[in-house]
């Protein structure tokens, strides 16, 4: 029982951390935005380098302090007014933009004082980068559930135990659930990031194919009325789908150009998880979420298996 509570708090806590942790860029990020000519202000995190030098700016700026970012680069930050909590502060997350001529960051708003953990700022993604913490675990579960389904399918073909077939079908059902969740969450996100709900990017195609495979798997199961036959034929189909679908999930998205990280024309990052856009904090939260989802999957699987087992026993006893 205790682990179910732990699981609940684990996922809830990391979801909260994921949602509440602020996104903050470095001086490099804000300078890049400035160079691109964007008037957009971005959040920047820095530590105050030397409190004693902070003063009213010579050029009339209300308050200027020297700050060092996480990469050790330093610059002046020009505040619009004297921050009231300056005495207690060691650092800030501020919203601002880079003024190249004056070599300083013009601060429009103080977002937080003495910041703790932050997620990196990714141009064009910002807060939306946090989808990775929810969408990626669900997508992983889709594939893992499918793998488990195939594993039990193979076991059925070897041992002809109908319980293995039941497990295979249950795992496929869970996979379908996760697959639908991954598709819809991804699609909602795509609307706000890429501008449309569906773009037929290779990875979107691959998850669509996975949906079709699961659909076909259950269509086949419902078309077979003798249990033994249903078990072996659906196991064969599951295995067949698994040896062809990876062409999509792992090979095609990497050799074809696309929008997802890790596509062929994406030069700056590898596969999603090792992408350079994440810092240690984000990676820890992502892996914790993955772990939480795996345990959640195992729990749901166990629940369904015991329900099925009960139903079988009842049917046999009746």
């Amino acid at each position: 029982m205790w682990w179910k509570l732990l699981l609940f708090f684990w996922i809830a806590a990391f979801s909260a951390i994921g949602i509440l942790t602020p996104i903050a860029g470095t001086l490099g990020d804000v300078a890049m935005m400035g160079q691109m000519g964007s008037a957009k202000e971005i959040p920047v995190k820095f530590e105050i380098a030397d409190k004693s030098t902070a003063a009213v700016g010579a050029d009339g700026a209300a308050f200027v302090m020297r700050g060092i970012d996480a990469q050790g680069r330093s610059a002046d930050f020009a505040f619009a007014s004297n921050p009231s909590d300056f005495d207690a502060a060691t650092g800030y997350i501020v919203q601002g933009r880079y003024d190249a001529a004056a070599h300083r960051v013009i601060v429009s708003k103080v977002l937080s004082t003495n910041p703790g953990m932050t997620f990196p700022f990714i141009p064009g993604l910002e807060e939306r980068a946090k989808i990775i913490l929810f969408h990626v675990p669900v997508s992983w579960m889709t594939v893992i559930a499918f793998l488990v389904s195939m594993w039990y399918g193979i076991r059925y073909l070897r041992k002809k135990d109908l319980e293995d077939d039941a497990k295979s079908a249950i795992s496929a059902g869970l996979g379908l659930l996760f697959c639908i969740l991954a598709t819809t969450t991804g699609s909602v996100w795509a609307k706000f990031n890429w501008g449309s709900f569906w773009n037929w990017d290779p990875r979107e195609t691959s998850i669509f194919v996975l949906l079709l495979v699961y659909g076909a798997y259950f269509a086949l199961r419902s078309a077979l009325d003798i249990e033994e036959k249903r078990a072996s034929l659906s196991a064969v189909y599951g295995i067949l789908a698994f040896v062809t679908v990876p062409f999509f999930i792992f090979i095609m998205p990497r050799i074809l150009p696309g929008l997802h990280p890790g596509s062929a024309d994406d030069t700056n990052s590898g596969p999603v998880v090792s992408s350079g856009g994440m810092n240690a904090t984000m990676r820890i939260v992502l892996y914790s979420m993955l772990l939480g989802h795996i345990v959640l999957y195992a729990w749901l699987m166990r629940l369904r298996v015991s329900v099925t087992r009960l139903a079988m026993r009842k049917a046999d006893g009746a």
Partner: protein
């Protein structure tokens, strides 16, 4: 059981299917008519308009896919309907049956695909592949890939209740990787691009065939025997 024995029974099963087809013309006549009908629908809808070559590649594959979907399930469904599945089980090993049927389906697909391409070349005026060599390679390799994947699915659905409707449902997701690379390679062949740009697609088609046939040989026994 040595290889020559297996080869001999494969050839005998293939020969049986070919002679049966020649005698009854169940599949071939209907399929050729199907192709003619589909193509005429395309011609109606294109009437006088010029379409990009890449669209032609897509149209060609649509016709090839649906021709395969309507024709390739027959090999196993017919055995099941006539009740000769048991007879074949008692005559040969599952592997010989599978390979015999695979060869028959492949021959049928290649014949069908060549016929489709011929009609396209004759009746669609701007259907002119810039690289005929690559074009035919893709069409024939694609045909082999389609038949390799559909043969085992035909064997699966032959044992199910709703045979006809289930076939495209089960085939489509498994065929999609090959359809996509087939279409992309055909596009390259239609346009004046370098041969080498189709290399990744051709590799994908080749490895697809190897993977699917290997998996089918290993799994067929479980489909074939109750």
């Amino acid at each position: 059981m040595n290889t020559t024995d297996v080869m001999r029974s494969i050839i005998a099963i293939l020969g049986k299917d070919v002679r049966s087809e020649l005698r009854t013309r169940y599949a071939v006549n209907a399929l050729l008519m199907f192709v003619v009908v589909t193509l005429s629908v395309i011609l109606f809808s294109l009437a006088g308009e010029t379409v990009a070559r890449s669209v032609h590649a897509g149209l060609l594959w649509v016709v090839m896919f649906f021709a395969a979907m309507s024709g390739l399930a027959r090999s196993f469904v017919a055995e099941e309907e006539r009740g000769t599945t048991l007879t074949l089980q008692l005559l040969a090993t599952p592997v010989s049956v599978y390979i015999g049927k695979l060869l028959f389906n492949t021959a049928l697909t290649l014949l069908l695909n060549s016929f489709i391409v011929l009609l396209f070349l004759l009746f669609i005026p701007d259907f002119t592949p810039a690289q005929p060599g690559l074009f035919w390679t893709v069409v024939l390799l694609g045909g082999v890939a389609v038949s390799s994947a559909t043969t085992i699915i035909a064997a699966i659905i032959a044992r199910a209740n709703t045979k006809g409707t289930l076939f495209p449902v089960l085939s489509f997701p498994i065929l999609l990787p090959l359809l996509m690379s087939g279409i992309s390679a055909t596009k390259i062949a239609m346009e004046e691009q370098a041969w080498t740009s189709a290399w990744a697609d051709l590799q994908l088609l080749g490895s697809y065939i190897v993977v699917v046939v290997t998996a089918s040989i290993l799994l067929f026994e479980h489909v074939w025997k109750d």
